[in-house]
Symmetry: C2
Subunit: 436 residues, 2 copies
């Protein structure tokens, strides 16, 4: 095995330039939701070149929309295909799904960028651009890992499924579509930007919209009305109390030092139509954090009950209850035990290659990983190159050496996890490039 | 004098139909700001018919804009003339300005009307339509009062100036223009809809905009940011404390029973751009009530200082002070002593005609009257037909009998205030209609 892993290392070292070029081509495509097709075409071309079996399809909203975890603002996914590249194993090994999303968030205010958002400029070992770290860098690490195995003439026993999915940034419809298409495996690695930490737990989240009612009146006789703005203040205060209660329950040592493990963030507030009128409606929108092991349904019910109980604090809410709507995005929480074989295999390879123990953490944000954990019950870990703090921000970048390191650790993990078919047995198992 | 007043009553009784027709024509013109010219043309036609001296001009923004009490969102007043009709006295009497605005607020949501907003339908003694009560009904009462005097062959000693002004609903530029044009008098009556009460004090008001700052962060790690929404809650709370302090100072018995004589109303709130981000800016807009005898400048300074002092409650505000902007509308407060001769003259006539004492009140809203009080130091009272509660609302209406009653009370007040030139002396003083 040591010999195989050293071949992997050698291959990756020699392939840096071509991998950087691949990442550049991907970053140059602004694959925001609805605009993924050109980036996916590059992925398809690359996978085909590598000799992988391809599965390409446009997710069907009709087939998914009854699923309780389906969420999407899109009317259809025409022109936004999912792409899966399959490296078939020789049999007898454990299988792995390597999942990465191809969609990126919009570049935002151009004035805040010092680099071209889709320029993919390389400078001081960093590649700049929207999606570089979230998560085209992770995707290239996956492709390079598979390529290193394949082009080093190593045959795996278990199957490897590389999934380049759409719609992660808008709630995970791409990954849900892959799950519903029947993809199963013994483990999943998602190289979202963890800065090489092991995110063995991920916070889930759901967006909510609250409508707080008042009664209109002229501002000069405001005592004749009921201000929805003032009532909102009570609502916000009480939501804060629920946040405290929920977080006091979190006793996982992974969250030690995190001030609020599962925040309830009220992100927007809009109310009133006229400065000198008493507002009769305030709309609050926010993000409700869900603990890694919590069910979304239970979290929703707790919030809704808490809001119903507002009437015990203020009679106004008995006649005018706060309306709750769950809308927009939702990420299912995920978790895996620290002593799970998948974590240990990855940890062992991390240790061998970096000579350090990985940092285990609970992620403050969700990924598509929760869908694997909760919908298809596949053990899943989030581990990848790039720093969270630059994701979604101007001048997003990825450290290229970290990307190569992730590729090597993942490739070596695949060898251990899927098992290697000894070479003499595997002869003829690969056509095409036929390396070695 | 009794004989003159009985002639007035007789004239008004016989002129009801023609006055209703005049009001209908006026209500049928949707004279919202910028669209007053057709309604003013009807006024001009009527005043000319009555034989009054006319002064018609479009206010000049250039001439007014340096004035500290000028406020208007318009770039100019082209097509929006002020109209003044002058009934010259024979000399030796006190003069009076009768002021009413011709502009109306928009009709709003048509679905909430059961009547045509500009239909001017008469039903059960009420005339329905936008502006019927605020304040075309009051204007018709003024015109009818003057016409009753003139067509009853009564000659006044003092001058009467009927001002049909624009822009009251947007801050008073029309009345300010009339003041700056040089109109002066010994008293002013404004028949805004007081439901026949005497509003001897009027609350002023100013609109403000507050910008409350925060620090952006991802909702999943919201403790890394500072929520402008949470900071706004503190601001709103502290504004509430200032409101209490300011209202505790109001000890005028006229305000007994008014829960909040000079409210600070926060009418709108807008903040945040994304449910799962910590908001870095909240904008609050509101109306700051100003006591009848208070200077606008002093009220502003008190509010600004209060907001500056927020830093003593929360250090955040030391580095990130709340920004205050005074914008949009502003109404100057007004007040007159209850024992002023103008009030007493009006009161005496009210008593004689209705056999009841009038109700004296402090108005919860401002009118153009404050400009007369504070800019030209003319004693001014607000008294008119129609109920405040239907002004600016769907199905606005005026009780027509109340309008005629107001006309009679105001006409008789003019006789006492301006003085009547005995008939033999006044012969030949009137040309034209030559009634009697």
């Amino acid at each position: 095995m040591r010999e195989y892993k050293s071949r992997i290392q050698g291959y990756i070292n020699e392939s840096k330039n071509q991998s950087i070029k691949l990442l550049q081509r991907l970053v140059q495509e602004d694959s925001i939701s609805g605009n993924e097709s050109r980036a996916q075409a590059i992925i398809m071309e690359k996978l085909r070149e590598m000799g992988l079996e391809l599965d390409v399809w446009e997710p069907s909203k009709e087939e998914m929309q009854e699923h309780p975890y389906f969420i999407s603002a899109r009317s259809n996914f025409n022109g936004s295909p999912n792409v899966v590249g399959i490296l078939k194993g020789t049999s007898g090994g454990k299988s792995m799904i390597l999942n990465g999303h191809i969609d990126v968030v919009p570049e935002g205010d151009l004035k805040q960028w010092t680099q071209q958002p889709y320029g993919a400029t390389v400078k001081d070992g960093k590649l700049y651009g929207r999606g570089a770290t979230d998560m085209k860098g992770g995707n290239v690490a996956l492709i390079l890992a598979i390529e290193a195995i394949k082009n080093s003439g190593i045959a795996l026993k278990g199957d490897v499924y590389f999934q380049s999915v759409i719609e992660e940034e808008s709630g995970g419809a791409g990954t849900l579509a892959a799950i519903l298409r029947g993809y199963q495996a013994d483990g999943v690695i998602i190289p979202e930007p963890t800065n090489m930490k092991f995110f063995i737990k991920q916070q889930g989240s759901m967006w909510f919209r609250l409508k707080v009612k008042g009664k209109v009146a002229h501002g000069g006789t405001r005592y004749e009305g009921v201000s929805a703005i003032e009532k909102s203040m009570l609502v916000i205060q009480e939501v804060g109390k629920l946040e405290k209660l929920r977080n006091d329950r979190v006793n996982d040592p992974l969250y030690d030092g995190v001030p609020i493990p599962i925040p309830i963030n009220i992100g927007t507030i809009h109310g009133g139509t006229w400065p000198s009128s008493v507002s009769d409606l305030v709309v609050l929108e926010g993000r409700f954090g869900v603990a890694p092991s919590e069910k979304l349904e239970a979290a929703k019910e707790e919030f809704e009950k808490w809001l119903r109980d507002l009437k015990m604090k203020d009679e106004w809410f008995a006649e005018h209850p706060v309306e709750v709507e769950w809308f927009g995005a939702r990420w299912v929480p995920g978790s895996i035990e620290a002593d799970h074989a998948l974590v240990q295999t990855l940890e062992q390879n991390y240790l061998e290659i970096t000579k350090q123990k990985p940092v285990m953490e609970a992620a403050p944000w969700g990924t598509d990983g929760g869908l694997f954990t909760q919908v298809s019950q596949i053990p899943m870990i989030v581990f990848g190159p790039g720093e969270t703090k630059v994701a979604h921000y101007p001048d997003e970048y990825i450290d290229l050496e970290q990307m190569f390191l992730a590729a090597e650790i993942i490739a070596c993990t695949l060898l251990d996890w899927c098992g290697v078919q000894e070479q003499q047995e595997s002869e003829g198992a690969y056509e095409g490039e036929g390396v070695l």
